[in-house]
Point group: C2
Chain length 340, copies 2
């Protein structure tokens, strides 16, 4: 047996065998049928202050093409992406579910590689994949495989991180260089190679964010994935009803990304990222946080890229290198489809 | 705009517009990007006893073909399926996430119908859909649409419902007639029509189960979806290491299902169901529970179909109508692919 068959999605013998052989050894799944039941108050030998925690809940489907790309694959993307969505509200990610849709004929070996990556990614992130599901559709009715991960985390101690909390005077920090993930996927898709290669930045951000939170007040965070930094900032400007002034010069872009973007007419501000975040932090904490971020390998490229002003409300203004001001809007159209 | 475009999955303007126009009005989504944050301890004006609840977590992807079938569509299936997976461990379902994968070109009108169904199904089930995600893949790379729903519920008061708790002497109750969902989907797929039509039994089981739990001890439950009643019973026999003796005569099958099954050589025991469950209950509570179930429209067809004996361990024995005994195994191969 080297390929996924329709019968692997039937609920019967073949499906049970597939789960037993390939999924069960990698994950701590308590549920492939009904539900996993978890005692989150007392889990992991840590007692949550039951009156003071809220639950964070998020979902994402992953349809990246190709499934394997420089620096990662769909499996780790699916784990880190959901871990990061939890981390963005200040949650400690705890549990993930994973739902798989396979196209009939998918190579078992590729599946195995992806599952192993997911297990490693879960370990690195400190989360457990406890609920799962597998479905199979006929040849030609999907594209290899799609993964959905949903995640649960806990927000402790009354922490409230949200664009509505952004304040005038907040500094805007980016945690690393932009554009890497999108360029890595695009390169693989088009058979381009760069020297040095541009790798996806897919990574778990929960640990570095927990560190950062120790240094002062963080008002809002978001990871600029689909739509890139520009779209994310514009979303947050609209939600906060404030104005963000950012400096082109301060935005870190990797050399390889600049080159490719110029060559292909892409704007790095709109290219998808995976392992970076943008944080709106209280003015007086920004420098301390930046120092702390820079000491973490995931934050080496971090920088303060701008600050929040009162008006014009909902706008993002980019000061260009040559001294002009550019109004930044959301991505219009589609630059690179199926990037995550 | 009457069809889904690749740009609807870009993260940019078109995606925001789609979400604002079609998803936001139907659901109570707090998150389409990062995470929804919920205060489950104090939610819904009910205070959970914080020391005595556990969390139930489950996921399922839905790839049913066709998307619309007699008695339902993929949207309500995706809500009820996940609600029921929570209900099967005795949880009160609270929150759902919904991840959508669209094939480019999908009709906006069909999407709208499906979203409206999901909203109605959520309302009927008493759950809130609070987190979501939309992705779009190129024409020919998916089959219309796929939906993943994940769900969170609370198991209160130390309730522990699991096949490991099944005991010798337990009565086995089925809550309704078997085979309806599978036959309804198959009929639609093959352009067959029956008179009266066979409708999918897709329905939320959480309320009827909460009622039943008031009448006595329930040791285990499961909804016999993919693989049918036979596969579900075999799974549970293996997990409990006990033997189930069931009676063919006692298993309710709708007339239309019997006819089609004979015609097409299908075995109703292996046909997928959606809105029924099988429960293992303490002997002395079984009759009271059955009376209660029969009063609920979802339990009208309920019956006691057998009981649990010590050995042979892991076996399901069916007493046939003509007095023989048939050993029941899991579904082997694939009877009806893409049933849910």
């Amino acid at each position: 047996m080297d390929r996924i068959l329709l019968e692997h999605g039937s609920g019967g013998k073949k499906m049970h065998k597939l789960i037993r052989e390939f999924f069960a050894p990698e994950f701590e799944m308590k549920s492939f049928g009904d539900s996993a039941v978890i005692d989150i108050i007392n889990a992991e030998r840590r007692t949550l202050n039951a009156e003071r925690f809220r639950l964070a809940f998020t979902t994402d489907s992953y349809v990246v093409s190709p499934l394997f790309f420089p620096g990662g694959n769909i499996g780790e993307l699916a784990v880190y992406g959901t871990v990061n969505d939890l981390a963005m509200v200040g949650a400690r990610p705890l549990y993930l579910s994973a739902g798989f849709i396979f196209e009939e004929g998918f190579l078992i070996n590729d599946m195995k590689k992806i599952l192993v990556s997911m297990a490693e990614a879960a370990k690195k992130s400190g989360v457990k994949i406890i609920a799962g599901d597998t479905k199979v559709v006929n040849k030609g009715k999907a594209d290899g495989m799609f993964i959905n991960t949903s995640g649960i985390g806990v927000v402790e101690g009354g922490l409230d991180i949200s664009p509505k909390n952004i304040k005038v005077g907040d500094k805007i920090i980016i945690s690393g260089t932009i554009g890497n993930h999108g360029v890595a996927v695009m390169a693989e898709r088009n058979g381009l190679s760069f020297n040095p290669p541009v790798l996806s930045d897919t990574a778990p951000l929960n640990h570095i964010i927990q560190e950062m939170l120790g240094y002062g007040e963080v008002h809002a965070m978001r990871d600029p994935t689909r739509g890139g930094l520009a779209t994310t900032l514009k979303e947050m400007a609209l939600e906060s009803r404030l104005c963000f002034e950012i400096s082109e010069e301060a935005i870190p872009v990797a050399k390889g990304v600049i080159g490719v973007s110029e060559l292909l007419g892409l704007d790095p501000l709109y290219i998808a990222n995976e392992g970076i975040f943008v944080a709106f932090v209280k003015n007086d904490a920004a420098e301390k946080m930046l120092d702390a971020l820079k000491k973490n390998p995931l934050g080496r490229g971090s920088n303060i890229i701008g600050e929040v002003v009162e008006s014009p409300s909902g706008k993002v203004l980019l000061k260009t290198r040559i001294g002009g001001t550019r109004l930044i809007d959301m991505l219009s159209g589609e630059q690179l489809p199926r990037i995550c």
